[in-house]
Amino acid sequence: MNNPFNLASFRLIFIYTLLLSVSFGFVLMFLYFTSARDIQIEADQKIVNKVEEINRVYLRGREKGLYNYVRGQISRPTLNIYRLYNGNNEFLAGNIPEPTNLKINEDGWVEFTFKMNVNRVEETYYGRGIVVPFENLRLLVGRVVNNEIKLKERFFYSSLWSLLLIIFLGIFGGYILSRNFLKRISDINKTSKNIMDGNLSERLPTTKGKDELNQLSSNLNEMLDKLDSLMTSMREVTDNVAHDLRTPLNRIRSNLEVTLMSNPDIEQYKKSIDEAILETDNLIKTFNSILSISRVESGTSDLERKPINLENLILDLVDLYEPIAEAKNIKLSSEVEKEIFIDGNMNLLSQAIANLLENAINYGSSSDKPFITLGAKKNEESISLWVSDNGEGIKDSDKKKVLNRFVRLDSSRSLKGSGLGLNLVNSAVKFHNGSLKLLDAKPSGLIVLIEIPVS
């Protein structure tokens, strides 16, 4: 893992460098060949010009004139080359010694080398020319092309070096970049191992930048936070279950045990068993509530979402609860705007509002003329849903507490209930990405306000 050559990033850079080098190589090669050809054409043109001049010399002075012309060129510092031969291929005159490595190309051009002493140093020269035939003579006309060859060579080598430089910089740069990248990855790995080893509060290192690695770290951190809160709520559930379900279980057990002890008649048996069944039913209800809250909160449940007509939902609930409110002399009314739709889970939302209504009916009806209002209206970016009563309300110090599981305020302890109602409401609101507020009503009472953003 510590070898950067194994890294995907390095491999990417390597392939990129390779592609770049190949295309750059093609460009250089093209440049090289076109310039080499231009240089050659220019040199050849000079030779052709010379041949024309020689032709004119021949026309004017015939073989004698030609001979004198060549003799005149000897020992003159020039890049032009002349060697004159007779019909038997015998050397007559010329300004360079016998050429070697003579090569005649298909197009009639002759290439050769020769050695000559210049300033007492023997040097090798490269020549190029044409053999021009006359009646009894033949003349090699050419030029020294050392400069051109040097130019081509220099061009070739500088192209080659720049290509090598590109490859080297690409690979070396890639190595450095990858090592940098690797360091960050190994930091992430180290932290992950730490977290796996139980150090659950640790988080991955992030920097200020917005690159992919940083995004990855932030996302993983967010995931860890989410898992952390899930774990916490799981732990809470387990603690609560252990604590709050023991009490009713204990009641059932003692009830049955005591009944057995006291030599009961059949009626007493029946009574005890009835009580036990009632207690277990309540336990089952509590269990079901805990389960559905956990499922909603974990987000793992496949609760479907579809558009819900809030007006219908609220009117149906009012319809369900109106008789029981009336039986308790509570005036239950609704204030709903028409045509409010939200994307949500029908059953969950109904249950949440039902819980709020039941809370209001059970705990919010202490005034002389109790009333409960269930309302909904559409705002610009959200939908407000509220249940308000004119009961005693909830003290500010208790407001945060009541949303937790199994919390029952002292004033309600004597009444039946599991302490899970508001907790489920809270989970349902979270499921719909909304917020829940407990407000004071004037002059007294509680307003539970739910705001759900319009998607």
């Binding site: 209800k285 609760l303 039902a354």
Partner: protein
Amino acid sequence: MHILLIEDDNDAASYLIKGLKESGHVIDRASDGEEGLFMALDSNFDILIVDRMLPKLDGLNLIKKVREDKNDTPIIILSALGEVGERVKGLKHGADDYLAKPFSFSELLARLEALNRRNLPDSSSSLLEVGDLKLNLLSRRVEREGEEIDLQPREFKLLEFLMRRPNQVVTRTMLLEGVWEYHFDPQTNVIDVHISRLRSKIDKPFKGKQMLFTERGAGYALRYNE
């Protein structure tokens, strides 16, 4: 009723068998999915009670195979998976009802009864009659002893639900699901209040016998004697 119980848990099965026999039913039992499928297809039962999780062949697939065999015996699923989504899945596979564990025995009995009655030829007439109580689905008129009774829409629906199941126990959950289409347990006795309202309209003003009874520990029943 002749009932086939497909349940792998021996203890649970023996309680159920005892309770169902006590209630006057005839029970056969299969302890895994394959045996259950074989028995279900081999002889004629009035109702199948199928546990959702079974060895060899799970409950949902068993039901699918029973239905593929063009067998339309009413089926009720018993399952520890109680969410609405699971329930919908069960019904989609061809079950007629779904009961989440733990359930009360009276709830099971009431639902079995309802399923069995549903299998009887149902008159598609628009007039429901139970004793001297008449309910007209088209004119939405209700009368008893020839006297018209004024009902709210929801009371009408509630009465219709009860009148379609005369002399049957109907549980609070069945009412909540059937009349209000809610799948949660209210913590208050909302249904009881609705029933007592209905009772004050169809029973109290009339000299005749009481019809709407409370069945202790189970639910309600609309009864009449010929």
